[in-house]
């Protein structure tokens, strides 16, 4: 099995899906000759030609709006937004059109597009190359939102997104595009939408997280284990909405303690939703407060980004707090 990074795994997923289904079309800024600024679409133009790998003018609204039209025609567009930070111009098309097409037409028309975009911080990208806006999409009925944390998942998740009959926002944490390498099968497999994964087993605390924060959480868990023999379970949600509530509940039955870690700002972030869900449905399982370790409710900074983002120390402190409660 070849060893790959996430960029290569995503590229493979696109390639395999384009070979499998002639309706799959890639479009976006610089996705053709250049192969995408992060090279996720590298080589696709050469293999599939200009009708299936479309370099668009610089317009996020156009990329999404045109992808919707392509989907209405019967194609399966995979649109790349160069950085998720530039998606806002297309927000109207995403939330008013793609997300609502099925509902407003009683299922007569649908817009099952995939919007792929690098997201999140950790690469000194400053404010407009570092944001984690997943909550906006999760809040919109009609959209599925996903974020992989490793190459193996990235491939299987992107394939699931492409085969989905619903529009998918597929966020790729760029800080781990190339830093994590692992074996990725060169064959067809799917990571089902809505299914999370236990990354590390534990019995004292559950950390629910996703994206690049999975790795930071695992490190914090190891530190807690080494220092206090606390046993921390780490769950990678993979699909942010609909999130894998059963996996979280099962884990909480074991641990009774919940920490949620994400890079996005705290207020009304996914952590708030998970905490509220547990408070409403499983408060009896809890032996301590639910703690959120998140980005702050401040714009993502150019300086001190490591301090802005959840880091090992902050997660470790949260573990300590809930264990000593």
């Amino acid at each position: 099995m070849p060893v790959m990074n996430m960029v290569q795994a995503l590229n493979l997923a696109l390639r395999e899906e384009m070979r499998r289904d002639p309706r799959v079309i890639v479009l976006g800024e610089d996705v053709g000759k250049r192969g995408g600024v992060f090279l996720v679409t590298e080589g696709l133009l050469e293999e599939f030609g200009e009708k299936r790998v479309i370099d668009t003018p610089l317009t996020e609204m156009g990329i999404v709006g045109i992808a919707i039209g392509l989907a209405m025609y019967g194609f399966k567009p995979v649109a790349e937004i160069q950085f998720i930070d530039f998606v806002y111009e297309a927000f109207d098309q995403i939330v008013s059109e793609a997300a609502k097409m099925r509902a407003k037409t009683g299922g007569m028309f649908t817009a099952p597009i995939v919007i792929r975009a690098p997201c999140c911080g950790g690469v000194k990208g400053a404010m407009h190359h570092s944001q984690s806006p997943e909550a906006y999409f999760i809040h919109t009925a009609g959209l599925i939102t996903m974020m992989p944390s490793r190459p193996y998942d990235a491939k299987g998740m992107l394939k699931a997104a492409i085969r989905s009959e619903d529009p998918v926002i597929f966020l790729e944490p760029k800080s781990i595009y190339r830093t994590i390498r692992e074996e990725v099968p060169e064959e067809d497999y799917i990571i089902p939408i809505g299914k999370g994964r236990v990354v590390r087993e534990g019995s004292d605390v559950t950390i629910v997280t996703y994206g690049a924060m999975v790795h930071v959480s695992v490190e914090a868990a190891e530190l807690a284990e080494k220092k206090h023999r606390w046993s921390v379970e780490v769950i990678d949600l993979r699909t942010l909405f609909p999130f894998d509530k059963d996996l979280i509940l099962k884990s909480l039955e074991k641990t009774g303690r919940l920490i949620i870690v994400h890079e996005a700002p705290r207020t009304l972030g996914l952590g708030a939703e998970i905490a509220a869900y547990i408070a409403e449905n499983a408060i009896d399982l809890l032996r301590g407060p639910v703690i959120r370790v998140t980005g702050y409710d401040a714009p993502f900074p150019l300086v001190h980004e490591k301090l802005y983002m959840p880091n090992i120390a902050r997660i470790y402190l949260a573990i300590e707090k809930v264990m000593r409660y």
Binding site: I68, L70, E89, Q93
Partner: protein
């Protein structure tokens, strides 16, 4: 030879010559308000099609009147009247082949009628009764896959990039169709219009952009919507031919759209048509136009009524007598009244419909919420609280 770009000057004659700007500034018209032919060449249109144009416009107007009434009766939530603008929807739609697609906006019931969608289907949709295929999620929008009409959308102009994407799809699939999209003058101020024209211009896509310039975007007049001399000139910058037509002259709209569709299917790319018309009624049933425009203005525009004008033409040409025109009107008036009665007596949609069609499957959150909703309905029943 090197030329300083700051020194290059074009004379107006150059521009007109090069870009055929005169079409985008003038007003293309075939019949005048008195029903006389003013164009150099009268299009050769078979009598059947002329009759279809006429009945489509009449039916649109009668249905429009009913939708207003139904809104007052509380049977329809909102309606955007079309009175005086029928020639745009009908003329443009009938110019297309049956394989072509249309991406209309909320003021285009004429598109549906001209495409063969029945009054009953339109009324079911607008009333949102049990037969509404869209299941009551939005008002005054419609679409029909069978009739190759995309759903319109409430955010103004959002369908423009969809039409372009759809045309791109047809181009990739090798299907030779034209895609027509209609929108108001207000929509030309939004990004989607420029994005759509830009994209279609680059890829020479088979799109026909029709601006239904009815002079108003709610209370904002067209001259506050653009600084351009006309809307049709906006095509020039995108290398898209623009033509400005009398939108109350169904033959002019038809002829220009027909030419645009031919260009589209021949691979000659997009066309921009500005159809100059006038909104006789309020913006929607929620609007009071007396707050922003004078009754004199509306009265002065009445002489351009597209239906009256076309009637005069048909009589002048000897296609139909006044008596025959009256008969057509009466026939449809009676028919549509019957259909209205039928549609308002149909039962409402199921109360659970709000949970349907959110996704291709029902996720756990919606299952949980549906359960909660059912319980609340039970409690309401027990307490004797009315559901609606």
């Amino acid at each position: 030879m090197y030329q300083n770009p700051f020194e290059i000057r074009y004379s107006l004659e150059d521009v007109i010559e090069k870009l055929r700007l005169e079409r985008a500034i003038g007003l293309y018209r075939i019949i005048d308000p008195d029903g006389n032919v003013v164009a150099e060449r009268e299009p050769d249109i078979p009598r059947d099609l002329l009759l279809n144009m006429y009945t489509s416009m009449i039916r649109t107007r009668i249905l429009d009147g009913w939708l207003l009434k139904l809104q007052r009766m509380g049977k329809v939530a909102l309606h955007a009247p079309n009175i005086g603008e029928e020639a745009v929807s009908v003329g443009a739609t009938l110019a297309l082949d049956k394989d072509d697609w249309i991406f209309p906006y909320y003021r285009n019931i004429g598109v549906f009628i001209a495409r063969g969608v029945s009054e009953e289907e339109i009324l079911d949709r607008n009333i949102a009764n049990i037969a509404d295929p869209f299941k009551g999620k939005e008002f005054t929008i419609f679409g029909s896959r069978k009739h190759r009409i995309a759903p319109s959308t409430v955010p103004v102009g959002n369908q423009i990039p969809h039409a372009v994407g759809f045309a791109l799809g047809a181009y990739i699939a090798g299907e030779k169709i034209a895609v027509l999209t209609i929108f108001g003058d207000g929509a030309t101020s939004r990004g989607g219009f420029h994005v759509g024209l830009n994209f279609a211009g680059i890829y020479r896509l088979p799109v026909i952009f029709v601006i239904q310039n009815n002079q108003w975007a709610i209370s904002v007049p067209a001259k506050k919507q653009t600084g351009s001399i006309t809307f049709a000139v906006k095509g020039v910058a995108y290398n898209i031919p623009g033509i400005r037509v009398d939108g109350n002259d169904v033959l002019a709209v038809y002829t220009a759209s027909k030419e645009a569709a031919k260009r589209a299917r021949n691979g000659e790319g997009p066309t921009l048509i500005e159809a100059v018309t006038y909104r006789m009624g309020p913006h929607t049933t929620a609007d009071d136009p007396t707050r922003y425009r004078s009754p004199e203005e509306v009265k002065a525009m009445q002489k351009y009524d597209p239906i009256a004008r076309f009637e005069k033409y048909l009589i002048n040409r000897g296609y139909l007598s006044e008596q025959e025109l009256k008969e057509i009107y009466n026939e449809w008036n009676t028919k549509i009244e019957e259909i209205v009665k039928k549609c308002i007596s149909k039962p409402p949609l199921s109360v659970e419909v709000i949970f349907e069609d959110v996704y291709s499957q029902r996720f756990w959150n919606l299952e949980e919420q549906l359960e909660e909703y059912r319980e609340s309905l039970e409690v309401m029943k027990k307490l004797g609280i009315e559901v609606e």
